[in-house]
Amino acid sequence: MWGSLYTKRLTQDLDQWVAKGWVTSDNANAIRASLDNGHAASRLPTIISILGAILIGFAAMAFVAANWQDMSKALRLGLLFAAMGATYGIAIWTLLKKWTGFGETALLIGTGLFGANIMLIGQMYHLPSDFSAGMLAWGLGAAVTAWAVRSRSALIASQLIFLSWFFNDVFSETLQLTYLLPWLATTVLAFRINWAPAKHMTMLGLLAWLLGNVPVLTDMFALGPWEALTTVTFLLTLAWIAAIWGEASGFPFARTAQAYLSISVVVVLWFTQVADELVASHTTLTALALTIPLTLAAATFALRNIPQLKPLDILAFGALPALPLLAGFTMNEESGPVLWIMAPLILGLSIWLVTLGARQLNRFLVNLGFAAFGAEALFLYFETFGTLLDTAAFFLIGGVFLIAGAFLLQRMRQRTLPPPPASVATEEVAP
């Protein structure tokens, strides 16, 4: 459906671009021909078959609750192994026929059946309800399949299963380092097959691991809540600096990694100004004394040769971990962090993000900066005027404020970002 809509729209656009002289007739015909080879429309059967695979997986798992006591254990085991083997047989057949989409679907069903078989065998032999070990075994099976045939569906399944396994153990009192091993194995494969969704899962997995371990790290190093927030900001900032360096060094996906890390930093820092429930106790200068010089050193070392960045950027990176501690030091124990200290800093951070994004030609950072600025302005409006005005006036002024803000942001964004490359195309194509 989406493929045909896209084709229709592109065909209309191509007619206009040819008329304006932006695209030659030959090039337009070549583009139209590429649309006819069926690639755009071929995804729908694959998507439907994957949905079918998920339903089959659920059906197998629902078997856990079914009464199949009438069958002998040997017959049940035979059924389980035969179903799994047959599914992988179909995967071999479809992949040899070059039906990649259906092959991936069969591999996904096979992976799902493997997980269902773990549960069913556990049920048959009354194994202890060790959810964690079962998930780990399932994830390993999926990862081996992914590596063995470079399967995208098995890879994404293994990433999700390993993440569930991690979340199951995240509330324990020990640092969950073991997750990093399967995470690394799936990350290497995601980059080897160069598949964007798996790379995104890689970033999400890493961020989930980092944030999930915060309570344990806090206990391990006897950190106060503000020191914990400082440490998280510090680690995220270091990773962000590494991603900028990675982009400058030509590493793939480094720009997307920057997006994940920058938005995580902004969310953590924004959280510091509304964290009324965190008490100011245990806030010491140690974290400040350690994190700021280390961040400054890392930023100086990694970013000094990147021409788009200025000394101000290095200073700004170094200051990021200081913001949570500043909020902790200055907070009022009854009302939380002091608004007039934190709000200008968050607004300043937003503006810096816009300028950093503009110099790096990083559209995401620019948009993030504007979004953070808008969110902070709105937050300030709610915090300061919400209690002063009556309801009708509050919403009226709020509505006007939002519309004006949106208009202003769009104007600023247009001025900040470079113009689209259309004019270049005109110069090159025009006779």
């Binding site: 609750a65 079914a66 009464n67 006591q69 002998s72 254990k73 040997a74 085991l77 389980l80 192994f81 799994m84 083997g85 992988y88 995967a91 071999i92 992949l95 040899l96 591999l107 096979g110 493997f114 078989n117 773990i118 065998i121 556990g122 049920q123 048959m124 032999y125 009354h126 194994l127 202890p128 309800s129 060790d130 075994a137 390993l140 099976g141 081996v144 399949t145 063995a148 045939v149 470079r150 098995a154």
Partner: protein, 196 residues
């Protein structure tokens, strides 16, 4: 991807997954074949949490032990594996002592079962809610906590368990691993688990 790569790759994946599943099955079959057998007495649990679908949550009397009932080692820590030495001379197995490490050589009529120490009190913080004020109380998890039953029969078993008439027959090996072999109601074997 080449034809050979597809065939070999998927074969490797199937072999790996089959090995994991087979290991699960064979490990349990080996344990169920063990000649050491004990019957453990169950105890009632919070009725709001007892029945989940078609399996019975099993709690055992020996999952809560007091130092005036059994000998308890001094060096126990929460979340560690512990070993309960059992006497098999009566119809129901009775705990003799709780150790932090495997007991080594056992006497005739004894067996060992491995569990996890959830937590304990007593000693430094003696409890006052029992007859024995200075006793150490152990709260233990045995890894045989669920029993899958034919659909619709779980509630009956729950009732027996809450009347303390349910015994669980377990197979044990020398390392203290346990597997459920069957159930006893009022001293009568009602479920007997076949190996295959």
């Amino acid at each position: 991807m080449t034809r050979t790569r597809i065939i070999i790759g998927i074969t490797v994946a199937v072999l790996f997954q089959t090995t994991i599943l087979s290991q699960m099955v064979l490990g349990q079959v080996r344990l169920l074949n063990s000649p050491i057998e004990a019957v453990l007495k169950t105890r009632p649990v919070d009725p709001r949490d007892i029945f989940r679908g078609d399996y019975v949550i099993l709690n055992y009397e020996m999952e809560q032990l007091r130092s005036d009932q059994v000998e308890i080692a001094d060096n126990l820590k929460a979340d560690q594996d512990i070993y309960i030495v059992l006497s098999l001379t009566s119809p129901y197995a009775t705990p003799l002592k709780v150790l932090a490490s495997p007991p080594g050589q056992l006497e005739a009529g004894q067996a060992v079962i491995r569990g996890t120490l959830n937590w304990f009190d007593g000693g430094e913080n003696p409890t006052t809610d029992t007859d024995c004020i200075d006793c150490k109380n152990l709260f233990i998890n045995l890894p045989i906590d669920s029993y899958f039953v034919p659909e619709g029969t779980g509630t009956d078993i729950e009732e027996y368990r809450n009347e303390r008439a349910l015994g669980v027959i377990v197979a044990l090996n020398e390392d203290g691993d346990a597997a459920i072999k069957g159930l006893m109601l009022d001293g009568r074997k009602v479920y007997d688990e076949p190996l295959f």
